[in-house]
């Protein structure tokens, strides 16, 4: 299969504009500019492209929610890639930046936005400067600015650098951050397509989602649907890490099995150890027991829940049998405690107590009651927070204790 997203692996120097243009670059955007905007949105809807940031919400549907009685409109690319285990957006932006920028341009045209922003996590300082150069090249080549390609459409793309806060990957926290405030989630509704950046209708899409759009417009929804499954069409970049021989990004059709990713592409588990658990969606994951049933499960939005997880951003962390999960959840809790934005009490206080309890249990000073208390605190957070972070912080904790009780025997 030729790459759809990681095209730089097939084509050298595709991050140079001349090469990109030779390889059909901006063909999707040129085609979109000749279409009615609503038809562009409908094509993306028909393709069934689902949000690649983790939530899996259909992108075209999101675009169609934009409030046309309130202007101006904005598009914001979510490049805050911070979920532990996820490192796909960075590769796209570094190595295939024009396809990503083309995706932003098409989305912006479709929703009538004349300004679009790329919100990058602050750590992507070098990537942001690189993108600034690429945006300038794109403008010089006549694909950004006023009256693009002789049309009446005008667009500017700007980068905006965050400064180290996982919560800013949540779209309303991201918008707060862009407005020059602390990155704390907003109460929803209203959702961004009604009131987003500066209270104006805004589409927020992940880097990988936007990078999938040029192919869809160029080849049509049917072309895109040749890959993946009926309900999860297309290809997806799986970020593979942890106890595996060949960690890295793998672009595969949705519906590929865990076994194929981990053993065929990832080369299996090092040092003669066995696979114990899979975290399919980074630190926010449930721990899936890595038995044959799980390994033969298709990685798509519908199938992963059958084995007790979610596909999320498809950041597959492999855990081998030398790892005790009482240790692993000290890591996830340290993360969520650090990253809780402090707005909702259950998450702010709960993550603090869960961190303390996981550390006490791991140190060997815990009692059986501490394990029960840890679960109890987790249950009390679930369903009681404004955004998903609170919920996410409980997933690894609860599923580790329930599915791997031997790791928590006192």
């Amino acid at each position: 299969m030729d790459y759809m997203l990681l095209r730089h692996r097939d084509i050298n120097n595709i991050n140079q504009i001349d090469t990109f243009l030779k390889e059909d670059g901006f063909e999707g955007f040129k085609k979109a500019l000749k279409m009615e905007t609503v038809d562009v949105t409908n094509e993306v809807k028909a393709a069934g492209l689902r949000g690649r940031g983790g939530a899996g919400f259909p992108a075209g549907v999101k675009w169609s929610f934009m409030d046309n009685n309130n202007w101006p409109h904005y598009v914001v690319a979510n490049a805050d890639e911070s979920e532990p285990g996820t490192f796909k957006d960075r590769e796209i932006m570094e190595s295939n930046p024009f396809q990503f920028l083309e995706g932003i341009a098409i989305a912006s045209y479709a929703v009538g936005a004349n300004a679009a922003y790329v919100y990058l996590r602050g750590e992507f300082w070098e990537v942001a400067h690189f993108l600034d150069e690429k945006i300038e090249e794109m403008e010089k080549a006549g694909f950004l600015g006023e009256n693009i390609q002789g049309s009446e459409y005008s667009l500017k793309i700007y980068t905006h650098l965050g400064a180290g806060a996982y919560i800013c990957g949540e779209e309303t926290a991201l918008l707060e951050s862009m407005e020059g405030k602390r990155g704390q989630p907003r109460v929803r509704p209203p959702f961004p397509p009604s009131e987003g950046l500066y209270n104006k209708p805004t589409v927020v899409n992940n880097v990988e989602t936007l990078s999938s759009v040029p192919y869809i417009i160029k080849n049509g929804a049917e072309g895109y649907r040749k890959f993946g499954t009926e309900k999860s069409p297309g290809t997806k970049i799986f970020s593979l890490s942890g106890n595996v021989n060949n960690p890295g990004n793998y672009e595969l059709p949705l519906g590929t099995t865990f076994r194929e990713l981990i053993f065929t592409h990832g080369g299996g588990i090092p040092d003669g150890k066995s696979i114990k658990a899979i975290m399919p969606a980074g630190a926010s994951s449930s721990l899936i027991v890595a038995n044959d049933e799980a390994l033969d499960t298709a990685m798509d939005y519908e199938s992963v829940p059958n084995v007790g997880g979610d596909l999320g951003s498809a950041s597959v962390i492999v855990v081998d049998d030398s790892v005790s999960l009482d240790w692993l959840i000290t890591k996830t809790m340290d993360f969520f405690h650090h990253e809780s934005c402090g707005k909702c009490t259950p998450c702010r206080e709960g993550s603090y107590w869960m961190k303390k309890l996981t550390e006490r249990i791991h140190s060997g000073e815990g009692t059986e009651k501490d394990v029960e208390l840890l679960k109890d605190v987790a249950y009390q957070i679930q369903g009681k927070t404004l955004c998903a972070l609170g919920e996410f912080s409980t997933m690894a904790v609860v599923t580790s204790i329930e599915r791997f009780p031997e790791d928590f025997k006192i």
Binding site: G85, R90, E179, G180, G183, G242
Partner: protein
Amino acid sequence: MSLAEKYPQEIEKILAKYPPEHKRSAVMALLYMAMREGGYISKADKADIASMLDMTTTEVSSIVGFYSLFHDEKAGQYRLQVCTDIGCALKGADQYLADLCEKLDVKPGETTEDGLITIEEVKCLAACDKAPMFQVQSPEGIKYHEKMTVDTTLALIEELRKDAQEAK
């Protein structure tokens, strides 16, 4: 000298990214700018940025406090920020950090005696397939260093030391 006096054209360019009535959006970019000298944001910088963006100094301080890449205290010239989050930890990042700290005779959060390097432990940097890894945050910006060992790290520190001496 205030930031506005030092970098007038650059500030204009940053402000032009946002609608004039929402210039507060520029606060993060200006805070990065303030860190170019000395690697931290001074009280005067905060007041300066606040007045440029029609914010209060308290509001600017709350932004500085919320985001982990903004610092209002002086540290080493280079902040060497090692990821010990789950992906890197499964690849031995905790041991790597402990060994590195031992070689440099510091604990995480501390600065080497010559004031050059502050070692910090940080959360996931989106490079889980290239562990152990760290970023170096300095007044010049942020740079990634991946697939590192203690030896290659010490060699890098030696280079940074030379750069710092030459700059002096």
